[in-house]
Structure formats: C-alpha cells, structure tokens
Amino acid sequence: MTAKSRIQTQQQRLMLVHAILIMGSAVMVFPFVWQIMTSFKTSPEALLVPPKLLPAAFQFSAYERVFARIPFWDMLYVSIWSVVVRTIAQVVFCSMAGYAFARLRFPFRNTLFIMLLAIMMVPREIYLLPQTEIMKSLGLLDTIAALTAPGLFSAFGTFLMRQFFMTLPSSLEEAARIDGASRLRIFFEIMLPLARPGMVALAIFTSLWSWNELLWPIVVNSDPSKLNLAAGISSLAGTRTIDFPMMMAGSLMAQLPMILLFIVLQKRFVEGIATSGLKG
C-alpha cells in the first residue's frame, strides 16, 4: 500500500466514524429538541397524529400553567439551597476524613474504613425507613433541613478524597514536619490546597446527585414548597388528564440550571465524572 492511498483510506475511515458519531449524537439530542418544541405547543397540538415537530405558533401558556400548578420558585430555592449546603459539607467532611484515612495512622483505621465502604455497597433503600423515623422524631418532617441532612455525609466522597490524597507526594508533608508544623496545619495549609482537583470532582458529583434526587425528598417531605425541583416536577406527571406541554415546560426549566452549568464547566464535569463517576 502506498503512503498516499494509506492516508486516503484513513480519511475515509474517519468520515465513516464521523457519520456514525453524528447519528449517535442525533439520537442523544433529539429528545431534548422534542421536549423544547412540545413545551411551546398547545395541548391539542401535542396530541397530533402524525406528530409535528414545530408548533403552529410558539405559545408560552404551558409555562404559565407550570407556575400555576407548582410553587416553582420555592422548589428552585430548595434545590439550590440543598445543593450548596450538601456540597460544602461533603467537601469539608470528606476531605478531612479522606486525608486521615490516606495519611495518618491510628488504631482501627482499616476497620473504620471498611465500615465506610460497606455503606457504599448497601442499597439506599435500607436507610430510607430509619432515616425517615429519625427525621420524624426530631420533628423535622416537611423541612429543608430534613431534605438536606442525609446528603451532608458521604462514604463515597470520603473514598474519593482518600484516593486523591494517596496520589499526592508525601515529600511536602515531610518537609513541613521537619519545619515543626503540626499535622492539622499541614492538612489545612498544604494538603487541602493541593487537593483542589479532587474537591472539584467531588463537588460536581455531589451537586449533580443532589439536584437529581427524587426518592428521599418525596419520602420525607410532602409540602410542595419544601420539595426540590426533581421531586416537584414529578407531581406534574401524576394527573389524570396528561398535559404534556406543561410537563415539558416544567422539566425543561428544572433541568436547565444543571445543563448551563455543564456547558460552562464542560471540561471539569467530564473530568469529575471520569474520576468520581464510578458510582451511578
């Protein structure tokens, strides 16, 4: 095979690859296009056979119906509040514990770590009933505090941060030890700044998980204004007369903040999932 024809076959191959990837991308993107278009349709228009992609005229009435049906702004507030508090708490607690498990020696370290790993392997359904009982006995049912509480602590996040600290070189710590710095100071002033990429990965994972969470919120809260958006929009689906434009408008508004964040922080998201995304 001559060099020229080799380059030619390589280019043909790349063309084929692009063709397949474009088809794949279309399958990934089309449902969102359909969602957006349906959100601008009237109810009868959404039920047309054969279906039409574009609405006859772009209507915003479905969006108005969303705001009439659910306390959207309250739910948005709950979503943002719980994401921010959970992310900060997890980054702080998991970094601290992750560092201790990665670098410090103390009795029962391995036993305690294996106990943490066990939490990750147990399906979350096991925790749900007792966690609800705890919230009930604390008088916290139907509060944002209850919705946020279980997400403040994460075994998975600790595991992630431990793995990250283990990749950092120990020479810096040793130098600081010789200078007489205490271990706590070494942690806060040297190791924590170095662990920023791991913390970003954990923060992205936590926000995504918290934003999407549905089961815990509907179990612990029933007051619509105390639900996050993921749970809030699910109530749009539970009606006898199905209003698809309203469902599409509501879900679109609920998913938009995360998608915008993803588009802005694309690279960090992908890196974050590549390091933390091992857990569904």
């Binding site: 449902p31 969602q35 959404a46 514990a97 075994a155 999407n212 199905i242 469902m247």
Partner: protein, 323 residues
C-alpha cells in the same frame, strides 16, 4: 502555590492548629499518640453523621424486618414472618423478575459504550469535545425530566417513537402499557441516560492503552477490527468489567425513571411493571407497612450482594489483569 504555603507557614496563625502547639508544652504527648488524635479529630464529624444516618439505619432496618408494624399500633416482634410473607407474595416475584429483566437489558449499555468510546478514541478525530457534550447531555439532566420526555415519546397513540417505527413499517405498540415491553422500553431509556457516563469512563481506560501496542499490531498487518479484539479489548477489560458491575448494581436500584414513566395513577399495568425498589416504596411509604418494606429492602441487599459476587467470580474467566 508552594511558595505561598511556605511563607504562610512562618507566620503565626490563629487557627485551632496553633492550640495543639500550646498543648505540647503542657502534656508532651508522644508523636504516635498525637498523630492518632489528629486522625480521630479529622474523621470525627464524618463518623458522627454517618453513625446516625447510615450505621444506625442498617441495624434498624434489620430490626424492623423482624417486626410487625401498624400505622396506629406499635411494633411487635414476629420473627421471620415478614420474610415468609415475602416468599409467598406473588408481587415480590413479579417485582424481582422485572428488576432482573431491567438490569439485563441495561447491560447492553456496555457494548454500546465501548463502541462509541472506541470511535471517539480514533486517531486525528476532530470535534471530539462537541460529541462529548451531546453524549453527556442526558447525564446532566434530571432523571425525572428524562422520564417525562420519554413518556411523551413512547406514547402509544401520538408518540414520535411509533411514528418513526411506523415509517419502517413496524406496527404501533403501546410501549408503556404492554407487559414486558414496558420494562425493556424503560431500560432503553436508562441506557440512553447513562451512556455518556460509561463512554467517559471507558474512554479514560482506552487512553491508558500504550500506542506501541497498536503500532506493533499494525506492522503485523492487523486491521482496525482485528486490533480492537486482539489488543484493545483485552487491555481495557478491567475498566469494562468495573463499569459493568457498577452498572448492574445501579440499574437494580433505578427508581426515578420507573416511578415517572410507569405512573400508578395513569398506567393500567402499573403493578405488572413494578420493580423491587418501586414495590418497596409502595409498601413502605404508601401503605406504611414498614416491617414488610424493611424485609423487602434486606431482600434487595441480598440479591445485589449475590449478583456482585457472581460478577467477581465470572471476571476470572474473561478479564485480563496482567499488563
């Protein structure tokens, strides 16, 4: 960054860290003890939370599964009665069957992800980050939103899925209200939703395969397909295996998609399409039968542990760990 931390270290600080230094002159704890104390101090907040919210609930769920609970009456110990009921309850078996069907169908995500990851890994491929965004969109979208979108598209009367399949001459199917079909249809949405994540993970695995291996294979005259099966696949099999295990564990616990797409209020075959997690939710939180729900959750734990064990046993047959 290093120089900054160095200068800040020489300055006195008012952090709690300095409190430990004052303590040194009074108590003179041994180096080992102080390291251990620091360790316990750092894990304390996490273990405080985790003990209340995770360790205690595991014990409590086990306890609950031996109890009979009423909405108004207290709890009475009934031994294994809830587990006996579990095995004689036909709905448990419907839900278990559906859970397995779902997990099996969802496993198709792995070959699809390997396929697309390999394409995205092609030499000199342009527009990679663009494709990555497209495949990643569903990953950053709320599962409850995705459930609604696909409920619309799967609709038997006016859904776009039937319209498109109709163009190829396929008969109309009511995707979400036909037994068995509904589980497969929802599982495909699960694949669509999780594909981007799996692609990213497998792509990361592909990037660790040394280029020399491909060059050597190319010199030996192996084409791209041959190279994939003889070089790439064995090299990435540990990654693929890990993604598959996590995928199965996650898909046995899918709640959001099924809860949204198979709505108890509107779906006539709701009970036939239920999975274990949804059944658990119904028993525990709609019927408020906490004892029985706890037994179902323990049953789910046992199944997941058994499946995970089975997968690790199977891996010895095909995963290649020697590099």
């Amino acid at each position: 960054m290093t120089s900054m931390t160095k200068t800040s270290m020489t300055k006195p600080t008012e952090r709690p860290a300095s409190a430990g230094r004052e303590g040194r002159s009074k108590f003179r704890l041994s180096e080992k003890t102080r390291e251990a104390l620091t360790g316990y101090l750092l894990i304390l907040p996490l273990f405080f939370g985790v003990t209340i919210l995770f360790f205690y609930p595991i014990a409590r769920s086990i306890e609950l599964s031996f109890m009979k609970t009423g909405i108004f009456s207290g709890e009475t110990f009934v031994g294994l009665a809830q587990y006996k009921r579990l095995f004689s309850d036909p709905q448990t078996w419907v839900a278990t069957r559906n859970t397995f069907i779902y997990a099996l169908v969802a496993l198709f995500e792995i070959p699809i992800a390997v396929f697309f990851a390999t394409l995205l890994h092609s030499k000199n491929l342009k527009f990679l980050s663009g494709y990555r965004v497209f495949f990643f969109l569903p990953v950053v979208t709320l599962p409850s939103a995705i459930g609604m979108i696909w409920a619309l598209m799967y609709n038997g009367d006016f859904g776009i899925v039937n319209y498109v399949s109709g163009l190829f001459g396929a008969p109309k199917i009511s995707w979400l209200t036909t037994p068995y079909v509904v589980i497969i249809a929802v599982a495909f949405v699960g694949i669509w939703m999780g594909l981007g994540r799996s692609i990213i993970l497998i792509l990361a695995g592909l990037q660790t395969v040394p280029k020399e291996l491909h060059e050597a294979a190319e010199i030996d005259g192996a084409g791209p397909i041959r190279q994939f099966f003889d070089v790439t696949l064995p090299m990435i099999s540990p990654t693929v295996f890990l993604v598959a295990v996590l995928n199965v564990i996650a898909s046995m616990q899918v709640f959001d998609l099924i809860f949204i797409m198979i709505n108890p209020d509107t779906n006539p075959i709701y009970r036939e399409a239920q999975t274990l997690v949804v059944y658990f939710y119904e028993v525990g939180f709609i019927d408020s039968n906490r004892g029985y729900a706890a037994a179902i959750s323990i049953f789910l734990l046992v199944i997941i542990m058994a499946i995970t064990g089975l997968q690790f046993w199977l891996q010895r047959r095909w995963v290649n760990y020697d590099r």
